[in-house]
C-alpha cells in the first residue's frame, strides 16, 4: 500500500526494536494519560516513532523518522515559534544526512553520516544546542516523550546501523569518535544543567548529559568490538542500554512533574519557586524519586548504568596503546566531574524548587497534582523501582539484545547490589531507632530559624523576604566561577552555539545580503551582467574551439 513502488513496506521485529519499544511504551501511556490524548499530532508523533523502531527496510525507517520529526515540529510550534524554526532546521539537517547514509554501502562515510544525522536528532555534542531550546517548548507530555523517547529513537537508528548494518566495515576510530562526542555532551550538558534557571531547560540539558553517557557506552562497545575485547563490549553495552532504559523512565517523570509545577504556579523558573513540598507533597515525592535517578545516586535508577560505565572505562584503560589509555583516564575524570555536576543539578532542583521557603506567592499557594498527571507520574515512578533495586535482573533480560549487537560479547554479573545496601541500611535504621526510643527525647518543637541577622520582613511577605534565601543563580555561582567561565565564557553561551551556529548565521546573513543586492540591481547593472556573461561565454567557446 505504502512504500517504494514495487517494494512495499516491511516491518521487522527483533530484540533491539523490542527493547526500544519497551522503553517507549510507558512514556507514551504516561504522556497520553497526562493530557495529550486528544492531540492528533501527538498520535502521529507516536506512530512515527513506532514505525521507525519497527522498520524492516530503509524507506520505512526514514518515513517513520521524518514523520516523527514533522509531528514533533508541529507540537513544538504550538508551544513557541522561535525554537520551532531552529528545530526544523536541525530536523532537515538530520534527514539530509540520514537519507543518503541509509542507501550507501557499508563504509566509514555511511557511519559518519549516520552519526551526524542520528546524533543531531539525539542532541549529541556538538549538535546539541537546539535541544535545551526546543524540548522545553511544547506541553509537558510532549516534552517528556521528546526527551525520553525521541532521542532514544535516534540512538536506536545509530545503534542499528553502527552495530548491525555497517558491522562489516567497522573501524576502531568509529568508537573513539563516538566516545569523544559523548564525553563532550556529558560535560556541557551536566554543566548547563547546573547553571540553567528554568526547570524544564535544566532537565533538557540533563538529557544532553544522559545522551552523552549512552554515546560513551556505545562508543566503548564499538571500540571493544573492533579490537576484539569481549568483556569490555559486554559491560559497555550493558551500561548504554541500561542507561537508556533508566533515562526513559525518570526523565519523562520529571518533565511531566515540571509541567505540573508550571500549571500550579505559572512559572518554571527556580528563582520564583521554593517550598513546593508543603503544598504539593505528592508531586514533591515523585520528583524526588526522579531526581535521585537524574543525580545517579546509589539506590536510585541512575546509579547502576553509571556504575557499569565507570567499569567499562576502567576496562578500556587497562589495555591498548599509551595515548588511548591516557585518553581513557581523562575520560574517567570527565565522567566523574559530570556525575558530580548532575548530582549538583539534582540537588539544586530539589533544594530550591521544593524545599525551603517559597520565593513567590504563586509558589506558596500551589495546589497538588491533578489526577491525570498523578496517574502518569505514579506509573513511571513505579516502573523506576525495579530499575533501581534489581538492575541485575534487568540486565539478564537484556542479554539477547547484547548478543545481537555484539555476538562475541561476554557479560559478567553485576557487583552492585542495591538490595544488600538496603538491608544494611535497614539494620542501621533499626539500631538508630532503638537508641532513640531507649535514651532519646521524643517530639519536635517549631522555632524560627536564624535568618542571618536580617530585619523582620514586611507584612505582605508572609514567608519572609525571598532575597534572604539563596537563589538558583546564587547556588550555581561557585560552579559558574570555577568551571562555567572556563567552558562557557562569561556570557554563559553554549560553545556549540558560539563556534557552530553563530558563524553559520553570519554566513547566512551574508548570503541573504548578496541575494538582496542581486534583486535590487538596476536595469543597467543587469544588462551589463548579461553582456559580461555572454562575452565570457563566447570567449570560452572560442578558446575551446581554437585549442
Amino acid at each position: 500500500m505504502f512504500g517504494l513502488p514495487g517494494q512495499g513496506m516491511h516491518l521487522h521485529l527483533d530484540a533491539l526494536s523490542l527493547l526500544f519499544g519497551c522503553i517507549l511504551l510507558p512514556q507514551v501511556v504516561a504522556a497520553a494519560v497526562a493530557g495529550m490524548r486528544a492531540s492528533v499530532a501527538f498520535w502521529v508523533f507516536v506512530l512515527g516513532m513506532a514505525l521507525a523502531l519497527l522498520a524492516g527496510d530503509q524507506f520505512t525507517l526514514i518515513f517513520g523518522f521524518e514523520l516523527m520529526s514533522a509531528a514533533s515540529w508541529l507540537l513544538v510550534l504550538q508551544g513557541d515559534r522561535k525554537p520551532a524554526t531552529l528545530y526544523a532546521g536541525i530536523a532537515i539537517f538530520s534527514g539530509a544526512c540520514l537519507i543518503p547514509a541509509l542507501f550507501l554501502p557499508a563504509s566509514s562515510l555511511a557511519f559518519v553520516l549516520i552519526a551526524l544525522g542520528a546524533g543531531a536528532k539525539a542532541g549529541l555534542a556538538p549538535l546539541h544546542s537546539w535541544l535545551p531550546r526546543a524540548h522545553p517548548a511544547p506541553p509537558a507530555g510532549v516534552s517528556a516523550l521528546m526527551s525520553g523517547g525521541m532521542v532514544k529513537v535516534a540512538l536506536y537508528v545509530l545503534i542499528r546501523y553502527a552495530f548491525i548494518n555497517l558491522a562489516s566495515a567497522q573501524q576502531p576510530w568509529w568508537g573513539e569518535a563516538l566516545v569523544a562526542a559523548g564525553a563532550l555532551s556529558v560535560l556541557i550538558g551536566a554543566l548547563r544543567a547546573v547553571l540553567e534557571v528554568e526547570l524544564k531547560t535544566a532537565l533538557a540539558c540533563s538529557t544532553v548529559e544522559h545522551v552523552g553517557l549512552i554515546a560513551v557506552g556505545l562508543g566503548l562497545a564499538l571500540y571493544a568490538k573492533a579490537s576484539g575485547d569481549a568483556a569490555l563490549a559486554g559491560v559497555a553495552l550493558q551500561a548504554a542500554l541500561l542507561c537508556a532504559v533508566a533515562h526513559g523512565l525518570f526523565k519523562p517523570l520529571l518533565f511531566i512533574g515540571a509541567g505540573e509545577v508550571k500549571h500550579a504556579t505559572g512559572t518554571t523558573s527556580l528563582n520564583w519557586l521554593g517550598g513546593l513540598m508543603r503544598g504539593m507533597p505528592r508531586l514533591g515525592a515523585l520528583m524526588l524519586l526522579g531526581l535521585v535517578g537524574m543525580g545517579a545516586l546509589p539506590l536510585g535508577p541512575g546509579f547502576a548504568p553509571e556504575f557499569l560505565l565507570f567499569h567499562a572505562v576502567i576496562g578500556a584503560a587497562a589495555t591498548g596503546g599509551i595515548l588511548a589509555r591516557i585518553g581513557f583516564s581523562a575520560l574517567l575524570a570527565v565522567l566523574g566531574i559530570g556525575a558530580a555536576l548532575a548530582l549538583a543539578a539534582a540537588v539544586r532542583i530539589i533544594g530550591l524548587g521544593f524545599l525551603g521557603r517559597p520565593r513567590s506567592l504563586h509558589a506558596a499557594a500551589a495546589e497538588d497534582l491533578r489526577r491525570g498527571p498523578l496517574v502518569a507520574m505514579v506509573l513511571l515512578g513505579a516502573l523506576n523501582v525495579p530499575v533501581a533495586l534489581v538492575p541485575g535482573l534487568l540486565l539478564q533480560l537484556m542479554s539477547p539484545v547484547i548478543l545481537l549487537l555484539a555476538p562475541q560479547a561476554h557479560t559478567l554479573p553485576l557487583t552492585y547490589a542495591p538490595l544488600t545496601l538496603l538491608i544494611l541500611a535497614g539494620f542501621a535504621a533499626l539500631a538508630a531507632g532503638f537508641v532513640q526510643t531507649r535514651w532519646g527525647v521524643r517530639g519536635l518543637q517549631e522555632a524560627p530559624a536564624w535568618n542571618g541577622g536580617f530585619g523582620r520582613p514586611p507584612a505582605w511577605l508572609p514567608f519572609g523576604d525571598p532575597h534572604t534565601q539563596v537563589s538558583a543563580t546564587g547556588f550555581a555561582e561557585p560552579v559558574m566561577r570555577v568551571m562555567g567561565k572556563g567552558l562557557l565564557g562569561v556570557s554563559k553561551t553554549d560553545p556549540a552555539e558560539r563556534f557552530l551556529f553563530v558563524p553559520l548565521f553570519r554566513v547566512q546573513t551574508r548570503l541573504v545580503r548578496l541575494a538582496e543586492r542581486v534583486r535590487r540591481a538596476t536595469i543597467r547593472e543587469r544588462l551589463a551582467f548579461v553582456f559580461t556573461v555572454l562575452v565570457v561565454f563566447l570567449l570560452v567557446l572560442g578558446l575551446g574551439e581554437g585549442g
Partner: protein
C-alpha cells in the same frame, strides 16, 4: 559452616568496633590537637557525652522548613553507616565484601553529601544555601579525583572491589612505587575535604562566613544533630579505614582465620592511632584556606591521580 560463622562474627566485630569506636577516634584527634597546641584538651570520651547530651535535648524544627527536614539527617547517617559497613577494617573477606565495590562506596559518600546539602537548603536562609553551594563545588573535583584514583588501583590490583585491592596489595610485591605515592597524596587531599578537616573546612569553626559543613547543619539540634554528628564521626573512621585498606593493607586479618584476628586487630588500632596523629599534626601546622582556593587544591589531587595512572601506563610501555 565454621567459615561462615567466623565470617559473620568478624563482620559483627568490625561493625561493632567501628560504630562504638568512632566517637573515641574523634576524641583522640581532638585531644592530640589540643596537646600540640599546648592545651590540656577535652577528655577522650567527650564525643560520647556530646552525643548523649544531644539525645536528651529537645529537637527544634525551623518553621520555614518542610516535612522532610527530619529525613535528611537520617539519610546522611544511613549512607555513611552502610559505607562504614562495606569498607574493610581489621580484616578482609567480611560478609559485606562482595558488595564493597569502590564505586559503590564513592556513591554512598555522594549520597551522604547530598542529604546534608538538602538539609542545608531546607532551612530557607542564606547560610544553609551558601554551605550547600560550596559543598556542591567541592564535590565536583573530589568525585573526579576519586574515580581517577580508582583507575590506578584497578590497574595494579586488577580488581575494583576494596577487598580485592587490599588482598592484592597485601600479598603482591607492588613495592614503593611513584604512582602509589601520587595516589596517596591525592587520596589524602580528598579525604581531608570529604571529612571536613583543615585546610578545606574547620571542624571547630562556628558561625563564620567561610564555614561549609557547619553552615549546612546550623539549624539542626537535639537528636537530629546527634545523628549528623555521629555520621561525621563515622565518616572519619570510614575514610581512615579506606586509606588503611588501600595503602596500609599489611597485617590485615582474614575473616575465615580466627588465629589471624588478634594480630589484625592490634595492627588496625595502631594504624588508626598513627593516622589520627598524622591528621592532628597536619591540622595544627596548616591554616584554613579560602573557599575558592579549595577547587585548586582538589584539582591538584585530580591531576596527581591522573599522573599516577599515566606513570603506570608509561611503566607498562617501557616494561619496567
Amino acid at each position: 559452616m565454621l567459615i561462615i560463622t567466623l565470617t559473620v562474627l568478624a563482620t559483627a566485630l568490625h561493625i561493632g568496633l567501628c560504630f562504638a569506636g568512632a566517637p573515641l577516634l574523634l576524641g583522640l584527634v581532638n585531644k592530640l590537637r589540643a596537646w600540640l597546641l599546648g592545651r590540656r584538651g577535652p577528655p577522650l570520651t567527650q564525643p560520647y557525652w556530646h552525643l548523649v547530651k544531644l539525645l536528651r535535648k529537645s529537637t527544634l524544627v525551623p518553621d520555614t522548613a518542610t516535612d522532610l527536614f527530619t529525613f535528611w539527617p537520617l539519610g546522611a547517617f544511613l549512607a555513611v553507616t552502610v559505607a562504614t559497613m562495606l569498607i574493610p577494617g581489621f580484616a578482609t573477606g567480611l560478609l559485606t565484601a562482595p558488595a564493597a565495590d569502590y564505586i559503590t562506596v564513592i556513591g554512598l559518600f555522594a549520597l551522604a553529601r547530598t542529604a546534608t546539602m538538602l538539609g542545608g537548603l531546607e532551612t530557607g536562609f542564606g547560610f544553609g544555601g551558601a554551605g550547600a553551594a560550596r559543598e556542591a563545588l567541592f564535590g565536583l573535583f573530589a568525585e573526579g579525583a576519586l574515580l581517577v584514583l580508582l583507575l590506578a588501583f584497578a590497574l595494579l590490583a586488577h580488581s575494583t572491589s576494596l577487598d580485592g585491592i587490599a588482598a592484592t596489595f597485601r600479598t603482591a610485591h607492588i613495592g614503593i612505587s611513584v604512582s602509589l605515592g601520587f595516589a596517596l597524596a591525592a587520596m589524602l587531599t580528598v579525604a581531608l575535604t570529604e571529612t571536613g578537616r583543615i585546610p578545606t573546612d574547620n571542624p571547630s569553626g562556628h558561625l563564620e562566613l567561610a564555614m561549609v559543613h557547619e553552615a549546612m547543619v546550623l539549624e539542626y539540634s537535639g537528636r537530629l544533630l546527634a545523628l549528623l554528628d555521629y555520621a561525621g564521626m563515622l565518616r572519619l573512621v570510614a575514610w581512615m579505614n579506606l586509606i588503611g585498606t588501600i595503602f596500609l593493607p599489611f597485617g590485615m586479618a582474614r575473616a575465615a582465620d580466627i588465629l589471624s584476628w588478634p594480630g589484625g586487630l592490634a595492627l588496625w588500632v595502631v594504624k588508626l592511632l598513627v593516622m589520627a596523629a598524622v591528621l592532628s599534626v597536619f591540622e595544627v601546622s596548616r591554616a584554613k584556606m579560602r573557599v575558592f582556593r579549595v577547587p585548586e587544591f582538589l584539582g591538584a589531587a585530580l591531576l596527581l591521580g591522573m599522573l599516577a595512572s599515566v606513570f603506570l601506563f608509561v611503566a607498562a610501555r617501557i616494561g619496567a
